[in-house]
Symmetry: C2
Subunit: 336 residues, 2 copies
């Protein structure tokens, strides 16, 4: 269909249904895996109903994607954080549109992953059955942990401690029951370093021939580790509230080859967990700058946004923050 | 926008790009959870980095949905089987369109779930940490098992035994490496009966005010158990290769209140696992019929489809089977 006609139809649609959301026009959507390796085990099961011996595939990473009609610019890869899955970027707990759809509506291809051993990306239960069947001792069990509502409250900066709330909080705490359902057990302490998600992201970036890696929290270091493996296919990095940035003493050359944004929400100074992390990211930015890189560390209040939690992609002003981020990507990655 | 104009635009779009797939027009998409309950534990973690005490939410069921522009008829709820997730219904291992998108393109609202304790629906690691920290013995570990490629080969009827292939097999075995990546550990033996997925499905059905529950394999019995809880919101049941049907001696009244299809693929007679299960479903159908119900048991070869595996939604002829199933739903559920 000629582009002009497409544009005319889109304008027509927009003008007729200005009040309601226009239909989303998807060129292509689907899912696939990157990474993964076969392993053999004799403790895949410890029940009588299933065979213990055999081959399974682990360390693969599930990827769901959606490409809009008329996509432009680099696609975005969203990488969730601790104890969460790709659901992070979908419908918010209070039922508003997630960044996964919003970025598609803004003309971007969007790829959402589940980290290795999380969500639709398989974990490996062999050690659990090894201990359960008496072939190994309890200490060898994989450390699979859940973060409680109470602990998450402080980590996600809903308030200084459970159940106190920071004044002006933008997270939709009325819908917190729906948010807690997003949390899943975390196998990360049972996995090697770098996390198998890292080489999988490298495979994805090369396959997409250019993508902006958008991490969150626990996954904050992954895109940097991916860039150390290879900068191929990484058009830029957006680290949202990263648990860690590269150390200033690290080799800065990979990070000098792409625009990088480190983005933090509000109340960081009041958080003994997050304040030193933001400071460490500023020191990384300075080191990268000295090596010829372009790393911006932005605190949302300095950009005019107030009240944002650690889960800023789900906060009440999430789509206004998304607009700001899209502007940064356009300016610093597409047109720099 | 007036319906006639929508129709005109759709015809225009279809005629201009007859060769390629037209754009998918989505009215609404997103995700949410049904079910779930809060539990307290002092072994959420067994590492020094995370607090062991607190509240987590378990037994919730993740639901992803997509509603096309101009949706008609009851929405479809897809429920995956053993050792798999909602990925079952998405892009096939060899990269073809999954039923999740195809049914939307055919005008149906589609809801895809991850069973409780699977995929994006949280499992409960408290017992693992209880044993790991020495507060419980190894026998108390949850039986979390993986099914190996070799065992799955026979269960999924790719052939009589690994790695033999049934003649005429429609499953895309060239892409089997991608298929194995879909498999995840199964917590089902650690869960109560009925599975927490069952009351969650009941909540979903009531919320949708009418949906066709489409199960597969392990989940085959769930929609029947849901109907026993309440028939409210269940417009019909399609059990694809169910691991079990209700017993003929069960109370048939819930099953007499909705159209039911039990669908099997090919090579069933050659499978010691599946042949008796299909026979048991036929006996259920007869019992339901005597109680005034309408239960059809269809073998795909009898409907003209040959070479289908247990994973028939991913077989090479999957979209032709989908067309047949859409016809059955139109005829038996919408217009009966």
């Amino acid at each position: 269909m000629p582009r002009l006609l497409v544009a005319a139809l889109m304008i027509l649609t927009l003008s007729v249904s200005a009040q309601e959301q226009p239909a989303l026009r998807v060129e292509k959507q689907g899912s696939f895996f990157v990474g993964g390796r076969d392993i053999h085990s004799d403790t895949l099961s410890s029940t009588t109903t299933r065979a213990p011996n055999g081959t399974i595939t682990v360390d693969q990473v599930y990827v769901h994607y959606q490409i809009p009609v008329g996509a432009a610019g680099h696609p975005i890869t969203f990488i969730h954080g601790c104890c969460l899955t790709g659901k992070t970027w979908e419908t918010t707990p209070d039922g508003r549109m997630g960044w996964d759809e919003y970025f598609v509506r803004k003309g971007r291809g969007v790829y959402v992953i589940d980290q290795a051993s999380r969500g639709r990306s398989a974990s490996n239960p062999a050690l659990i059955n090894r201990v359960r069947s008496g072939k190994a001792v309890a200490e060898q069990l994989p450390p699979v942990s859940s973060v409680s509502h109470e602990e998450a409250w402080t980590i996600f900066r809903f308030g200084p401690e459970y159940p106190k709330v920071f004044a002006g909080m933008q997270f939709p705490l009325d819908a917190q029951a729906e948010f807690w359902k997003q949390m899943v057990p975390d196998w990360i302490d049972a996995l090697p370093t770098p996390n198998p998600t890292v080489p999988a992201l490298s495979e994805l970036a090369r396959r997409l021939n250019g993508t902006v890696l958008v991490s969150h929290s626990q996954s904050g270091i992954y895109p940097f580790q991916t860039a150390v493996l290879s900068t191929k296919g990484i058009a830029g990095i957006v680290a949202i509230e990263p648990a860690a940035c590269p150390k200033p003493s690290d080799d800065m050359r990979p990070f000098a080859r792409m625009p990088i944004l480190v983005l933090f929400g509000d109340y960081v100074a009041q958080s003994p967990r997050w304040a030193p992390r933001m400071q460490a990211c500023r020191e990384f930015a300075q080191a990268a700058g000295r090596a010829g890189g372009h790393v911006e560390v932005i605190s949302l209040p300095d950009a005019g946004f107030h009240g944002n939690s650690h889960m800023l992609m789900q906060d009440r002003n999430s789509l206004r923050v998304a607009d700001w981020l899209l502007g940064w990507i356009d300016r610093e990655i597409e047109h720099r």
